[in-house]
Symmetry: C2
Subunit: 159 residues, 2 copies
Amino acid sequence: MTDFDTLNTLNGYFQAMPPVAATGIRARDFDGETLRLFAPLAANVNDKGCAFGGSLASLMTLAGWGWLMLNLREAGLVAEIYVADSQIRYLAPLYDDLIGDARLAPDQDWPTILRCLRERQRARAALQAQTFDGRGAVVATLSARFALIAAPTADPRVA
Amino acid sequence: MTDFDTLNTLNGYFQAMPPVAATGIRARDFDGETLRLFAPLAANVNDKGCAFGGSLASLMTLAGWGWLMLNLREAGLVAEIYVADSQIRYLAPLYDDLIGDARLAPDQDWPTILRCLRERQRARAALQAQTFDGRGAVVATLSARFALIAAPTADPRVA
């Protein structure tokens, strides 16, 4: 299920950030468990015609950030969301448009994270993201931890 | 010592890559041991006015890539340079222009890497990079490994 308004909200955030707007990264699909992003290769090539590593890092980091923003929104919470650290593996050069997705890491429990955020105003969440080539093979992976800071009145924030 | 032609060559590569040109990342100084890059905050802000995490990742990855390109060139070698993996820590939000540098990781021996590349046509190299705020405090760090593949006639490559 893709909620058009939900994706539009997220894409509004992406478009408002100059380095993200320049790379054409945008949300394509969100079903509550997985958020999928897309970016055109043309805006993200290196000098050899394949995807720039920094663009893959941006896409996967934003996929994790977006996942958190949308699921917090779903839970009726607003928080500042900062990426704290990440590990990226570049497995193969990518000559196709960039398609990546993110989901909660398997060892994480979302209800516990929400409870922690409600009770302590702060929480941490670990996400996993990957990028695929045109045939669906994984070409890069990211594991990242995000810090969530409750912000009762403000908009979600990105670091 | 900054070699103007050397920095110009590197900046030519950066400018030729659309996602790098869009963020205004450019080389500022290289003394053989440290390569320093710069990018204006305006082209790299997130929705809250501080530096986008993906831009910090790009700047530090390119600092490592550029360090290798320049030092290989210094050694009379040309190789394809691919980032293989990286670990990034985001320590504090950055509200200044982006200034970062890279150097060889302390446990690495550059002559050994060069010998390996000459003899086996392939080598690995570990780099460390960091980003500073306007007062010189470290706001992000990156550790990355790069794969080098000898390319006798081609230009250096970036992943």
